[in-house]
Amino acid sequence: MPATDTAAELRDVTKRFGAFTAVDHLDLTVPRGSFFALLGPSGCGKTTTLRMMAGLEQPTFGNVSIEGRDVTGVPPHKRPVNTVFQSYALFPHLSIAENVAFGLRRKREPDVDRRVAEALALVELADLGDRTPSQLSGGQQQRVALARAIVNRPAVLLLDEPLGALDLKLRRQMQLELKRIQTEVGITFVHVTHDQEEAMTMADSVAVMNRGRIEQLGAPEELYELPCTAFVANFLGQSNLARGTVVEVRADGALGVDVAGTRVLVRSDRAATTGGAVLVGVRPEKITMLVDGQEPVPGQNVLGPGVVTDVSFTGVSTQYQVEVPGIGTFGVFAQNLAGAATVALGAKVHLAWAARFTFALDGREDATEGTTDVDDEP
């Protein structure tokens, strides 16, 4: 084992295709043994980043290293990484077993048959070694692609939207299975996806990418609970963002923010800036609606009154849209603990949430950044 805790590292990497900058001065460190997700909308540079790790693209400048060894300029066949391609790219002229054996045979490794059988067993395709790729379903081909990469025990396994072509149900199943396999084999996974739920379900660390840069990097719950840009707030789940101005820094460390004449509190360690214009944010499931003069719990932020303009029942929860004059439309998710929707369309409500769930972003940001171009169900 090399004496480094870093599986892969990109230092100030830029990749240009003609005039288009796909990856822009990117720094990235993938810890050994982690399940690392690169999340972003199409065209954000996540696949290009992955391909530079694989050696299938060379950076315009910057350095790529794998396990502490600089591999910039090293061709893909000499890198200790393997890729699960989006299209699977199985060799149609070879049997499943020979597909899986391909890498081992190139490296002239011993025990090919046993290791291929083990890899196929790991992905639960032990009996299909003699078939050809065209005889397998999409989900099975996906597993073969995984086995073909994993059998080589790479320093880093690169997964390029591997579940993109599967239907929703199979995708959810494969997400859990990928996570199981990663835990079982302990190989570092770098997983590229545009599906925020997929990234959050599987990864230990998520790097949210936008326009060739990393917007924010952290554990899924960190990113979700405390997004630090409007893009992350909107791309990862949904957020309610309202414009305000910091008018007070309190002794207890909270910021008092004026939002259209109403004072809301934000913990200063949850604020991207402590003065001037801010975007005050809160996640929809954190909000409760107060009707008919219900009193907020002390310590809650309250906005309103607003009018319920939309009610969609989704089974587990009900999603409301509440129009607050002078502030905007807020989304509210309420669990259907007491049966169906409890608040009617057109009702006048106040919005209340615990101050500790509030976050504040830089007020110069576009509050709609990251809300469009989200195609998480292609």
Binding site: H77, T83, A89, F102, R106, K107, A149
Partner: protein, 305 residues
């Protein structure tokens, strides 16, 4: 089947017709082709088979034959002309190998190397096909000039001592094989081009990702996946080359270059020995069929590589 695949024949698309109309529609569409095949293939082959067993009319004129079952024609024909028969397959085989060696890199350059530049691809394809715009005979005669005693080819080869002083290329087996390889080259290039053009470049990335150096990638991925084109191309060159008589007639010397096509031509049109000409044609056809069948069966499996 392999031939069609190699030629890039489009996959049959599903035509949405009500079931009861569908079979009638298919039959209707097949009719012209069936009629054509019966009139121009089945009937001629049957009459060729019959003719190969005819015997001369006693006291008749030259070229008068009557129906019979004279199997001895085959023994006589093969007994007299087996050297030309063997030579035909030998020359055709050499021309096929030469065509493959020259044609594969051309097809590879067009389909793979020039993939990013469609205009370059188109120009190169036109260059491959362009010779067809001039007459087959003229192009073959041009090879006489190319290989003439004073030509730069001969001079260069003499200088390189590949050819002894005073050596010639005209009217040699070499000239005939050159002509065959040249004339049928597009039939080699196009099917291989079609096969390589369908090759998913992502498979090469997968190969590289799985530790295959470029040359290994070619041997393990590109080449096996272009085999339908190679099989198609070699058949399209070998079959007509084996029966060709123009190249042997124009570039050969009538002694050690005569091919079976020339013999058949002479028997039919000069000597008017129809039964022997017909039986030689049948033998040619049967041997080609046997070779092709064996070849396709072998090429259909991976152990060809």
């Amino acid at each position: 089947m392999t031939l069609l695949a190699g030629l890039g024949g489009a996959a049959p698309s599903q035509v949405e017709l009500p079931r009861e109309n569908r079979s009638r529609a298919y039959r209707g569409l097949l009719a012209p082709g069936l009629v054509y095949l019966v009139v121009f293939f089945v009937v001629p082959v049957a009459s060729l088979l019959a003719m190969s067993l005819y015997v001369p009319v006693q006291g008749g004129e030259l070229g008068d034959f009557r129906p019979a079952l004279h199997w001895q024609n085959y023994v006589d024909a093969v007994g007299a002309f087996w050297p030309q028969l063997v030579r035909s397959f030998w020359f055709a085989g050499l021309a096929t190998v030469a065509g493959l060696v020259i044609g594969y890199p051309i097809a590879y350059a067009i389909a793979v190397r020039a993939r990013a530049w469609p205009l370059v691809q188109r120009i190169m394809l036109i260059l491959v096909v362009a010779p067809f715009f001039t007459s087959f005979i003229l192009r073959t005669i041009a090879w006489r000039q190319i290989l003439a005693d004073e030509s730069w080819v001969v001079r260069a080869m003499t200088w390189l001592q590949l050819l002894p002083p005073g050596g010639r290329l005209t009217a040699t087996p070499f000239a005939v094989v050159c002509g065959l390889a040249y004339n049928f080259l597009p039939f080699m290039v196009l099917p291989i081009y079609a096969s390589l053009g369908r090759l998913d470049p992502r498979l090469l990335e997968a190969g590289a990702d799985l530790y295959a150096a470029p040359i290994t990638c070619f041997r393990r991925v590109t080449l096996p996946l272009s085999m339908p084109g190679v099989v198609g191309g070699t058949l399209l060159v070998f079959i007509p080359a084996a029966g060709d008589y123009v190249n042997a007639a124009l570039l050969g010397n009538n002694t050690n270059t005569a091919m079976i096509g020339q013999v058949i031509d002479q028997r039919f049109f000069r000597i008017l020995d129809y039964p022997v000409a017909a039986s030689l044609s049948v033998v040619l056809m049967v041997v080609i069929l046997a070779i092709v069948a064996a070849y396709v069966r072998r090429a259909g499996t991976e152990d060809l590589l």
